[in-house]
């Protein structure tokens, strides 16, 4: 394939750093390469994906330590590890951290890394906006957690922070302010990235990659982005109202002035329920890639998988008030939302059976990734079924706000979401880092997590049905709660051991990697485009943008079915895979401005809480950075690249829309 040699940025593997003078800004324009500074200025979707993933896993430990504290406090009755006040902060921050700082960004890591690879693109539609999303997310995450230090403690209102308990009178520390502003910052990050990834999915597919040929992971991530796109503004409204109430004496949630506390609940859950599908759909996508690969069969019922995903995403908008069955909103509303909730079981059930049907007659090879994927299906089903028992509104009046609910959502979130994403981590680790995770340790990791998980959350079903309320910092002797709480705490310790095994696995695999054969582009005999390029993926992803002819394009490059329907190999990986050696692929230039914009936002946050002057400084920093950003050309002007005139048809592949950015001053084709 002809690659144009005239492009300025030679960003193949192993290139060197070059910093050019930039008259426009404070920063010299970074130009790619290696070293920590390049991580700060990177606009490469893969690096951003790794940044998301690493930070998310870090916050998993933070949220996990909070979970450990919860479990230690509740191990025995009248626990005294934490005071009630601290307990309330810890469980609130546990929920917030796990949802917003762990599982969403971990899913974002997959979205960033794999959407472009799976659709055969060289980057996302707006690389700098992508960097902006990450940095804003990180600054929001840090902001939220600094409330422990400067805010007088974490938020103490529960992750859904119901009014009126979230008012200043009832939560006088700054914790809730940090919650309100922190989640707004995180919301901006997710909103920006959802717009970016939607445009990427719609607009940057390789030739032939029709929507109905997109890998299911990409599909589920796309649906997730739409859910984010539409759900985030709703919680943004709610958070603004809360912030105005707390900081500027507005009256949105002041019942003495005639306000209705249920307004918050509606706004929160209109966001909150789509949110839970935001959590689960990426994991569904991962499972839909892993199970076929290790069953040696294509995914059963691709169209049904896609449309059930769409159906879930769509129906998820009409069920929010099932979190409010006992709020007193009236029996007709209760009945209506109860009905709408139930029917989500139908598309979800279709998914479960399609996974099973994929395994039907397959050849199941239980790698660690496959184990996690299958466990995801099994554990999620348990959580989904307890969800169905809540959906029967009258029954839920006995269940809501008990540990039975806690059991439900940890089964779907941990048993579905977390196990699913772990499957993805084991599956794609060699692709991302160029070496396998150790399967033997992985095995131990899997089993400890699975056993620990069931020992932790299984008993919570019983506890809840025995009447144990959630969000209690302690319980009295004599209600029959002792035994199962102890069991759950022991389970958590086992999970913690599993998490440590995972950390050890990461470290050991990296250490061992040089002595082991490299995985090569396609270690699992994969099906989708990311396996057609080297591991780790070169900066420019694809030497040549692939031409797609059908679903599972890469698999069909390697195999065909003969007349008897038997699979025959038509090409080896070595023959078919790209080498990653192309140089001179035109890539977007890195930039420091996304980082600078992101630094301004928490300053605004602190300012709103403590001193408006600080907010002004933050705002000025943000605006100045945005302006500098706008003035910074997408591509480095020093690197003159007027080569576009020279394009002849056969070298056009190299300068594909990957360079497109949000500035219209870009002069790419």
């Amino acid at each position: 394939m002809a690659i144009t040699e005239k492009t300025p940025l030679e960003l193949g593997p192993g290139d060197s750093v070059r910093y050019a003078e930039r008259p426009l800004g404070v920063f010299t324009r970074p130009q790619g390469g290696r070293g920590w500074r390049d991580w700060l200025s990177t606009v490469d979707h893969k690096r951003i994906g790794i940044l998301y993933g690493a930070s998310a896993l870090f916050f998993f430990l933070v949220g996990g330590v909070e979970a450990l504290l919860i479990r230690l406090q509740l191990a025995a009755p009248e626990g005294s590890v934490l005071s009630a006040d601290v307990y309330n902060q810890v469980y609130t921050m546990h929920g917030v951290t796990m949802v917003f700082l762990f599982i969403m960004p971990l899913a974002a890591a997959f979205a960033n890394y794999f959407i472009p690879l799976q659709i055969g693109a060289r980057d996302v539609a707006f690389p700098r906006l992508n960097a902006l999303s990450f940095w804003i997310w990180l600054s929001g995450a840090i902001f939220l957690n600094t409330s422990w230090i400067v805010g007088g403690g974490g938020a103490d209102c529960g992750w859904f922070c119901y009014s009126t308990n979230s008012g200043v009178a009832f939560s006088p520390s700054h914790g809730v302010d940090f919650y309100a502003i922190g989640l707004q910052i995180l919301g901006i990050a997710s909103l920006v990235s959802s717009v970016n990834l939607i445009v990427t999915c719609l607009n940057m597919r390789a030739p032939g990659m029709t929507l109905m040929r997109m890998p299911v992971l990409t599909w589920m991530l796309l649906i997730t982005q739409f859910l984010l796109l539409f759900a985030l503004p709703v919680i943004t409204v709610a958070l603004f109202l809360l912030m105005f109430d707390r900081l500027f004496d507005a009256q949105f949630f002041n019942p003495d002035a005639g306000a209705d506390p249920l307004l918050w609940q509606h706004l929160f859950w209109i966001f909150g329920h789509p949110e839970v599908y935001i959590i689960i759909l990426p994991a569904f996508g991962v499972v839909s890639e892993v199970i076929p690969t290790f069953s040696r069969k294509p995914l059963f019922g691709y169209e049904f998988m896609v449309f059930s995903g769409i159906a879930i995403g769509f129906m998820g908008w009409g069920v929010w008030a099932h979190h409010m069955f006992v709020s007193g909103m009236g029996p007709i509303s209760v009945a209506a939302f109860s009905l709408s909730t139930m029917f989500i079981a139908v598309p979800t059930g279709v998914k479960v059976l399609n996974w099973l049907a994929t395994m039907w007659g397959g050849k199941l090879k239980f790698t660690v990734a496959m184990k996690f994927a299958v466990a995801t299906v099994a554990m999620f089903t348990i959580g989904g079924l307890s969800g169905v028992t809540h959906s029967v509104a009258p029954a839920d009046t006995q269940q809501t706000d008990t540990y039975y609910i806690v059991a439900h959502f940890h089964y779907v979130i941990f048993g579905g979401g977390v196990l699913g994403l772990f499957a993805g981590i084991y599956f794609w680790w060699p692709k991302i880092f160029g070496h396998f995770l150790n399967e033997r340790i992985g095995n131990w990791h899997f089993w400890t997590i699975l056993v620990g998980f069931n020992l932790t959350f299984g008993p919570m079903h019983i506890l809840g049905l025995q009447g144990m309320s959630r969000r209690i910092d302690t319980y009295a002797r004599g209600y029959g709660f002792e035994f199962w709480n102890m069991a759950a705490t022991i389970g958590t310790l086992i999970i913690a051991a599993g998490v440590l095994l995972f950390i050890w696995n990461v470290a050991k695999s990296k250490r061992d990697a040089p002595h082991l054969p490299p995985p090569g582009p396609d270690p699992w005999d994969g099906r989708t485009l990311e396996w057609s390029i080297p591991s780790p993926v070169p900066a420019h992803n694809f030497d040549t943008v692939p031409q797609v002819h059908g679903r599972d394009e890469w698999w069909h490059t390697k195999y065909a079915e003969n007349d008897e329907g038997k699979v025959v190999r038509v090409a080896t990986v070595e023959e078919a895979a790209q080498t990653g050696e192309a140089t001179g692929v035109h890539l977007p230039s890195p930039s420091f401005w996304p980082l600078a914009v992101a630094v301004g936002l928490p300053l605004i946050g602190y300012g709103l809480i403590f001193n408006l002057w600080l907010a002004l400084i933050g705002a000025l920093l943000t605006i100045a950075s945005l302006y500098s950003w706008a003035l910074e050309p997408v591509d480095d002007p020093d690197a003159a690249h007027d080569q576009h005139e020279d394009h002849s048809d056969d070298e056009a592949e190299a300068t594909d829309p990957v360079a497109a950015d949000d500035s219209t001053e870009s002069d790419q084709p």
Binding site: L202, L211, M212, F240, A250, A259, L267, A660
Partner: protein, 210 residues
């Protein structure tokens, strides 16, 4: 209908759009698509604020309601001004597209000015309301009113900043035919803010709050 058929036009939207020759799957520009996607999201934002106001519009806690102090003739004028700014906006785009830089610049400035008049009107309205006893913290209705119209006002103001940036760029000769799309995108945002006001004007101001 087959799945392919349902999504087919997403994969082939380029046919009838000769003027949109970007090298993208759909043939549509990234930026424009992004703006439309973003505007879809904004509907949920304003919807939430509007619903909050509707829910609270009669909750006065025994004090003056915003509806009590509405000055419909005044607001009608500023609504009209904002509506007409959509016309100047579209004329600006049309001029820039034709390569008439100077006309484009003038229309951009006119749009920004009309927007400025609207914001001025809003500032006046706010201060008048406060004088008449309807402040941000008076009651749920007033909090909701100021939040909704304030959010809209901030949107308009951002639009003005963008218009002025385009204006300055145009003065420097940087706004040429090839950047017509930038004008178009700012225009989309501007028109959106206008239609939000069309909605607000009817639903908040004109429909009587029994």
């Amino acid at each position: 209908m087959s799945a392919e058929a349902v999504t087919a036009d997403l994969d082939h939207t380029a046919d009838d759009h000769g003027h949109e020759e970007h090298a993208t799957t759909t043939g549509l520009s990234h930026t424009k698509l992004a703006m439309w996607v973003f505007l879809g999201s904004e509907c949920l934002l304003f919807g939430g604020l509007i619903s909050t106001y509707l829910l609270y519009k009669t909750r006065g806690n025994g004090r003056t309601l915003p509806t009590d102090v509405f000055d419909i003739p005044f607001t009608s004028v500023s609504s009209f001004v904002l509506l007409m700014s959509s016309l100047t906006m579209v004329l600006a785009l049309s001029a820039v597209t034709r390569g008439e830089a100077e006309a484009g610049r003038t229309w951009l400035l006119a749009t920004a000015l009309l927007g400025g008049v609207f914001i001025g009107g809003q500032v006046y309205e706010f201060t008048a309301f406060v004088r008449e006893g309807v402040a941000f913290t008076t009651n749920p209705a007033s909090s909701a009113f100021f939040t909704l119209t304030g959010f809209h006002g901030v949107h308009v103001s951002l639009g003005i900043v963008m218009l002025m940036s385009l204006f300055v760029a145009s003065l420097k000769g940087k706004l040429t035919q090839r950047n017509a799309e930038t004008v178009e995108i700012v225009g989309l945002y501007w028109h959106f803010v206008d239609i939000v006001w069309i909605f607000i004007f009817t639903v908040i101001y004109l429909i009587p709050a029994d």
